[in-house]
């Protein structure tokens, strides 16, 4: 099953538009009765930004996943690889645990906000990984450092929740992803970070193509590996950080989106990054719509739905591909 990249992009974007439409029309009480008083507010200030925000977050994760898989030449790489998720989780846990303990921390929290704190946490996590790996020169060292930082920071998060167990539920919401509170400001932040990361990714994509032939080949082709890695890791951290700060840790989108588009059509990295963004956005948005529609007015954690949707779809695709040809 091969689709042309242009057609695939159009299809994925159409899925996104359909998702936004469904997201605007479906809410806590089922399908919207549009004539309702106060409905305009709900449509414009809650459902539309929430739907667009979910798409943006998914696009950021898909993009970051494509960059990570290309950069590390590893199909298992995902946006949370370099300590970003664990950094954000730890920052949020500490902020929640310290709330109410002293007025200083409370006012600090009020100034920066949980989203700001999560973003700082992401950057600190990635920064720690880079320090531990002594820069970006060796891919394997970088991967290992990311794993170590992730394990250590997650352990510290565990300690924080042990110390203040009433943050457990809030932490669970963060760790399973939450698209419920996305407003226009979140959409603006994510769209801006996404545009910046996309430009960097597209500029660096020829280097990724060369890199797929091996590091030494890439270097002999004149790719300045150090610079390219640094740029890509910056873009990757920016994209992941913006998504994690606004929606928490949504599982699987970043891992599965590049695979979904690669399975449908093999392509160079520039298009892969673009298409992964469109696929990630469509996937997370579909998951968000399902999460709020299935047991309304209650909600499912969106991360569970993405894992189910993306995982099952990928399994089906693999099953088809893996079947022996007659």
């Amino acid at each position: 099953m091969n689709v042309r990249p242009g057609l695939l992009l159009v299809l994925l974007l159409a899925a996104g538009v359909a998702g936004v439409l469904a997201g605007v029309l479906i809410g806590s009480t089922g399908w919207a009765s549009l004539g309702d008083e106060g409905m305009a507010l709900i449509l414009w200030e809650i459902r539309l930004p929430r739907s667009l925000g979910a798409w943006c977050a998914g696009a950021l994760l898909g993009m970051a996943g494509a960059m990570a898989q290309g950069l590390f030449r590893n199909p298992l790489a995902d946006p949370y690889l370099l300590g970003s998720a664990s950094g954000a989780g730890l920052a949020v846990a500490i902020a929640l645990a310290l709330t109410g303990v002293s007025p200083q921390t409370s006012s600090l929290l009020a100034h920066i906000g949980l989203t700001g704190i999560a973003f700082i946490g992401t950057l600190v996590g990635v920064g720690l990984t880079l320090v531990l790996a002594r820069g970006v020169e060796q891919t394997l060292r970088l991967l290992l450092a990311g794993v170590v930082v992730g394990v250590v920071l997650n352990a510290l998060t565990g300690l924080a929740t042990l110390w203040a167990p009433d943050i457990l539920r809030a932490m669970q919401a963060f760790l399973l992803g939450n698209t419920g509170l996305l407003g226009w400001s979140s959409v603006a932040v994510m769209a801006a970070s996404g545009a910046a990361a996309l430009v960097i990714g597209l500029v660096a994509s020829p280097a990724l193509d060369a890199l797929s032939l091996g590091e030494s080949t890439a270097t002999s082709l004149g790719v300045r590996m150090g610079l390219v890695r640094l740029l890509l890791i910056f873009a990757f951290a920016l994209a992941t950080g913006a998504a994690v700060a606004q929606t928490g840790i949504v599982a699987f989108v970043g891992l599965v989106a590049p695979h979904l588009v690669r399975v449908l059509c093999p392509m160079l990295h520039g298009r892969l990054i673009l298409l992964s963004a469109a696929a990630g956005g469509a996937l997370l948005l579909a998951a968000d719509v399902l999460a709020r529609a299935l047991i309304r007015p209650q909600e499912l954690p969106v991360g569970l739905v993405t894992a189910l949707l993306g995982g099952v779809y990928l399994l089906v695709l693999m099953h088809r591909r893996g079947a022996p040809r007659q």
Binding site: L41, I42, G100
Partner: protein, 288 residues
């Protein structure tokens, strides 16, 4: 004659096995425990159970509690035996308790039983549960008239309800348990307290005790008052669309301090205090 003798012997044997004071306790998991005498060394692994034991006047019999039991202050001097998932089995065994009170969800019950300890699993989740658990713990401890504590709670809640002014009655409340939008519904014990105080709740009982709700649902339901813990209150008024909610527009938001949160979140003997905290919130905000 022989039959009578046998019957007498049987009675005697039974008498030895089950002395007069022996009580049989069936816990919340259906497990039956036989206590030959009122336990003198008690371990409690749930804050609300610790508070219940102390309220029944048996604080002195506690020899160890879980990490999160912090009331009354005297329990802070006892050995802390860990939390839900990291209970220190060895330390519990070394305390040689006559009985261990654990939460239903605790995973240590089996292990402790295997070590020969008597374990009673209880988990109060509603007013009715609190009353039942009080009775059970009273039986376990051999304290007469445990229901006296219950009557005290009832009286305290009724007094709190009496202090709620008429204009606060029927006020529709949204009680957020944790950010990520977990709410306390009518069927939770916080919801029961609200009902007893005469306040309304925007989360109907049909949604279960602590549903994760769509934020839009809250905007639509337009509560007149919001109750929330300090840890979830950050950015509440900036949530998309929430500026239109009555409670936000008129500043009717009660932010509970963490120590108040302890009282509000534990279905135990301090429920009357919890009712008073909520009643104070209703009083203050109805006046503003």
């Amino acid at each position: 004659m022989l039959e009578r003798l046998l019957a007498l012997l049987l009675l005697l044997l039974l008498g030895v096995a089950l002395p007069a004071a022996a009580v049989e306790i069936k816990d919340d998991l259906g497990h039956t425990t036989v206590l030959a005498a009122p336990p003198q060394r008690v371990v409690s692994l749930l804050p609300s159970l610790t508070e219940t034991v102390c309220e029944l006047g048996a604080c002195g019999r506690l020899v160890g509690v879980d990490r999160y039991s912090n009331f009354p202050a005297s329990v802070n001097a006892l050995p802390k035996l860990g939390g839900m998932d990291d209970t220190n089995i060895e330390l519990i065994a070394s305390l040689k308790p006559d009985v261990v009170l654990v939460a239903v969800s605790s995973r240590v019950a089996e292990r402790l039983r295997a070590l020969g300890m008597k374990v009673i699993a209880l988990e109060p989740r509603s007013y009715k549960d609190v009353q039942r658990v009080l009775g059970l713990i009273g039986q376990v401890l051999g304290v007469p008239d445990a229901q006296r504590v219950w009557r005290h709670i009832e009286a305290g809640v009724a007094a709190a309800a009496g202090s709620v002014p008429a204009q606060a009655r029927g006020m529709r409340v949204y009680y957020e348990v944790a950010s990520g939008m977990w709410a306390a519904g009518e069927s939770s014990f916080m919801g029961e307290t609200l009902t007893r105080l005469g306040a309304g709740n925007i989360i109907p009982a049909a949604l279960g005790p602590f549903p994760k709700v769509n934020p839009e649902f809250v905007v639509k339901a337009n509560p007149a008052l919001i109750m929330i813990g300090a840890r979830g209150a950050e950015g509440l008024t900036e949530r998309p669309g929430w500026h239109r909610i009555d409670a936000v527009r008129r500043g009717r938001i009660c932010v509970f301090k963490p120590e108040e949160g302890d009282i509000l979140a534990r279905p135990g003997p301090r429920m009357a205090e919890a009712a008073q905290i909520m009643a104070r919130c209703l009083r203050d905000k109805a006046a503003s």
